[in-house]
């Protein structure tokens, strides 16, 4: 590293809650990231500085922090942009601080689990949208249901037996590039929680499912192979589901992966309304299927 240094102020907090601010002069060059700067402090100035990191290529989602009030991934944010202003690094907002820059992640994972972020396979629960009268089953190839499992020879081929046999499922769903594109953007979420730090509504409603979780719920809803939309609607159409969102759009602005959680929230609110109306209509029309 060159001789040039930058002023790095870091918010510190002990597990017992005691907090303070520390300031370091950190050497840097054109390639020094905020994460590199924090690691320099840990290696050369204060080994007790506590922060998360892993991949250093903006895909694992570990190293989210606030830099000068803005939530960013430390690994892809470069110190060179803060030469004159200096940096103030703080833990992500809207999450309990466990120590220094490490915040609670369990609450987020709990919210994620609540929206059933897995493929609900066997259909008939896809929403009647845009005037469809009946639920629409996802497009499942007819042979998808049971695993097609040719029995392999026990313990592998016997001596002299050279026949290789495929084991396990031998088919799946068809999905066109267009059907893939319908949800792929939402599937790019890396669970970094920057959008939670940015969302002002979490000040008022800390239990709000939040942008990333609703985006993931919509990722599954919009997947042509999934039939879980109604089950997720039960979670999204609640006081702290999709409704706390007032479309500020901060989530979409700070997302490092180009996911558009604001759109997901808008869609979730629209679907919740349509679902409610569809359920009302089917109640009036007689017993639901």
């Amino acid at each position: 590293m060159s001789e040039e240094t930058v002023r790095l102020e870091v918010a510190r907090q002990e597990p017992d809650g005691a907090s303070r601010r520390d300031v370091f002069d950190v050497p840097f060059d054109d390639r020094t990231s905020v994460l590199d700067a924090l690691q320099w402090v840990k290696d050369h100035a204060d080994p007790t500085l506590t922060f998360r990191w892993s991949c250093k290529m903006a895909v694992c989602g570990s190293c989210g922090v606030m830099v000068n009030g803005r939530p960013v991934l430390g690994c892809e944010t470069f110190v060179r942009g803060f030469r004159t202003s200096g940096l103030v690094v703080e833990p992500l907002a809207h999450a309990e601080v466990l120590r220094d820059l490490v915040v609670d992640t369990d609450t987020f994972v709990g919210k994620l689990a609540a929206v059933k972020p897995w493929l609900v396979p066997d259909g008939a629960t896809r929403l009647p949208l845009a005037g469809d009268a009946a639920g629409v089953a996802p497009d499942v190839a007819p042979d998808v249901a049971p695993d097609v499992v040719p029995v392999a020879l026990a313990g592998g081929p016997a001596p002299g037996e050279d026949v290789l046999r495929a084991v396990g499922p031998a088919s799946g769903h068809r999905q066109t590039p267009g059907e893939l594109a319908a949800f792929k953007g939402f599937a790019e979420c890396i669970d970094c929680m920057l959008c939670y730090a940015a969302c002002p509504q979490l000040d008022l409603a800390p239990d709000f499912l939040g942008p990333a979780v609703v985006a993931t719920a919509r990722r599954w809803d919009e997947d042509s192979r999934d039939g879980g939309e109604l089950a997720r609607a039960d979670v999204l159409d609640t006081e702290f589901g999709a409704w706390p969102c007032i479309q500020v759009g901060a989530c979409t602005q700070v997302c490092p992966k180009g996911v558009d959680p604001a759109r997901a929230l808008r869609d979730a609110q629209r679907v919740a309304t349509e679902t409610w109306e569809a359920r009302q209509a089917s109640t009036e029309a007689g017993p639901a299927r």
Binding site: S54, A58, V109, A113, L119, A154, R165, L180, K184
Partner: protein, 630 residues
């Protein structure tokens, strides 16, 4: 002097160490077995222990894809043949067959779980070409295959991770060591793992009759590496200390296209899609180093030029560098990965991550300019010696994924074979571990935890096991607030010497230098400085514990490299350029005094220690697992 730490005890049927693709596959296999049996036998409990959160695991960074035969022009036989050819004599053929037979099945399973595989216009799963593969058989999700694979597995696992679920997660819990009876002996048997709960700041014994190690590789030891900070060889070190040999550890794959300095990976898929490599003069230099004949730009031919095996491409770079054909930079010589002819649209569709990484971390737009690249440490071919299903010679101990050496990769891994290995062997190891645990709880194996999954507290665990676990915890906790050697300096020196002397080409002088350095670093580590004395989220301590594992595994790798006086696959010796007539595995073990010992063993059935009938198969019942014909 040692504080007596209060040791919490919890039980599981199976402990899975690691939350990446292999660990999640193992846990999901157990959860699915339980779901099929619902209402019958007592539901098992699998403890899924991750030192991070599972979705942060390094699987997330895998880019290119996963191999599985689907096309009419392809066959299982051809996938086996390609893998054996890449492995240069060191593959275990039964493991190759085992994985190849199950590869497409596991990829279809992920499809059914919702993985967003890239598609053809007709809606079929698309496959792409990959280095060393004679057919297009690599399934992919753009160039973020590992990311989507990991998140699909993790989100699917949440289904089984509710309050009464089969999967009990232990996130940000750092595994310190295994508890093993009679380590290295004939009755060796695992009893559980000693864990540090980083949130509560206290140690924990997870008692279980079966443990699956799924801790990933060790290539972070090298200074320039594609690997995340968490890829520190923890499980390999634990297995070695427990008496399980590490096999073929000298075979370290250098990926030919990393970003200079950072080592960030640019996937082989960039070449599979038609990218080419150019020297300083703009020439396709690979043709001059035995990888020709030169193929037309944008029309990649399997196993030729840019799609040659990774070891050959990295070796060609080394020669080109020595011949003065690279572009000098402060990070060493570089060559150019040229994608411009693909066009912006194709790059955005097939290689969005490559485009983003090049822009963000190298300041280059690959649609307009070629990207500077150089080889970087990437994948640990060797690891904990297991059979095809992940069983080790310690009763109840399994390993899967990059930390294991099943024999699939031999001396050189083909790109896209490792992701399927995590799925196939992860699943098989999970099923085998559950079968073993049930044998144990039925009393067929001594040390079974009959109350497994039911309790908290030392009730059904031998007091002796708790005492040994407490000793382990105390020993590690006592590192805090002691020592004089700064860990960062030890880590930097290790990375430097491995880069310099244990790289693409090696020789005896360099390897002896490296060995002496690593031995010195290990001696200095005995007095390593851990300044942070905090209990909660003490990352100074945790990363220093990791460094101890990395140093041990690096020591084993260097010793194995020095002992292999031939050139084969990813291990190239300038002072021994020929391959031996008869290929042999290397095995590293610790002797009674803890010294690193290297021996060699033949390839094939004679080396099938875990399969020789003396162990797990005796107790792994003739399987309750349906469908796999296990």
């Amino acid at each position: 002097m040692l504080p007596v730490s209060p040791l919490r005890v919890e039980h599981a049927d199976v402990v899975v160490v690691g939350g990446g693709a292999a660990g999640l596959s193992a846990a999901l296999a157990i959860a699915e077995t339980a779901a099929r049996e619902a209402g019958g036998t007592r539901a098992p409990v699998v403890a899924l222990v991750s030192k991070v959160y599972p979705m942060r695991s390094h699987t997330v960074a895998a880019e290119g894809g996963a191999a599985g035969v689907v096309g009419d022009d392809d066959s299982l036989e051809q996938h086996v043949a390609d893998t054996l050819a890449g492995g240069a004599g060191l593959c275990e053929e039964d493991a190759v067959r085992f994985v190849v037979e199950r590869a497409a099945g596991e990829l279809w399973r992920l499809e059914r779980w919702g993985l967003p595989w890239s598609r053809t216009d007709d809606g079929d799963v698309a496959v792409r070409r990959f280095g060393g593969m004679s057919r297009a058989r690599t399934w992919f999700a753009a160039d973020k295959t590992g990311f989507h694979l990991l998140h699909t597995l993790f989100q699917t696992s949440l289904r089984y991770a509710g309050d009464d679920g089969v999967v009990r997660r232990y996130d940000e819990h750092h595994v310190l060591d295994l508890v093993v009876d009679d380590p290295g002996g004939p009755d060796a048997r695992v009893r559980g793992v000693v864990v540090h709960d980083q949130h509560r700041g206290e140690p924990l014994l997870l008692a279980a009759p079966a443990v699956v190690l799924a801790t990933g590789g060790a290539a972070r030891a090298w200074g320039t590496s594609t690997n995340a900070g968490i890829v520190t060889g923890d499980g390999m070190a634990m297995a070695l200390r427990a008496g399980v040999p590490l096999r073929d550890l000298e075979f370290l794959q250098f990926h030919p296209t990393g970003l200079p300095g950072s080592g960030i990976l640019l996937t082989e898929a960039a070449r599979g899609e038609g990218g080419v490599l150019l020297d300083a003069e703009g020439r396709r230099y690979l043709a001059d180093y035995g990888l020709g004949p030169e193929t037309p730009v944008g029309e990649p031919v399997p196993r030729t030029m840019e799609l040659g095996p990774r070891d050959r491409l990295s070796q060609a770079f080394w020669h080109a560098d020595r011949d003065g054909r690279t572009i000098p930079t402060p990070d060493g010589g570089v060559v150019l990965l040229d994608l411009r002819h693909l066009g912006r649209e194709r790059i955005a569709e097939r290689l969005p991550l490559v485009a983003g990484l090049a822009k963000q971390f190298a300041g280059v737009d690959p649609a307009l300019e070629p990207v500077p690249v150089r080889p970087t440490a990437h994948y640990t071919m060797g690891g904990v010696r297991t059979d095809a299903r992940g069983a080790t010679e310690v009763g109840g101990l399994f390993a899967a994924g990059e930390c294991a050496s099943t024999g699939l990769h031999g001396a050189n891994r083909l790109g896209s074979n490792s992701l399927v290995e995590t799925l196939v062997v992860g699943r098989a190891a999970g099923e085998a571990a559950l079968a073993w645990a049930r044998g144990a709880s039925a009393g067929r194996v001594a040390g079974g935890a009959s109350g497994a999954g039911a309790g908290v507290g030392p009730g059904s665990v031998d007091a002796d096991v708790v005492d040994r676990a407490a000793d382990v915890a105390d020993r590690y906790l006592a590192m805090r607030g002691r020592g004089t050697e700064p860990p960062a300096a030890l880590r930097a020196e290790l990375g430097r010497v491995l880069d310099a002397d244990v790289g693409i080409y090696r020789d005896a002088d360099g390897l002896r230098r490296a060995l002496a350095t690593v031995e010195d670093l290990r001696a200095r580590y005995d007095d390593v400085r851990v300044a942070d004395t905090g209990a909660v989220l003490n990352t100074d301590w945790a990363t220093t514990v990791e460094l101890g594992a990395t140093l041990l595994v690096a020591h084993a790798a260097v010793a194995a490299a020095l002992a292999r006086e031939e050139s084969r696959g990813a291990h190239q010796r300038l002072d021994a350029p020929a391959a031996d007539d008869v290929p042999r595995h290397s095995l590293v073990a610790l002797d009674a005094a803890g010294r690193v010992e290297v021996t060699h063993a033949p390839v094939g059935r004679a080396d099938r220690g875990p399969d020789d009938g003396t162990r797990p198969s005796a107790a792994a019942p003739s399987s309750p697992v349906e469908g796999e014909g296990a």
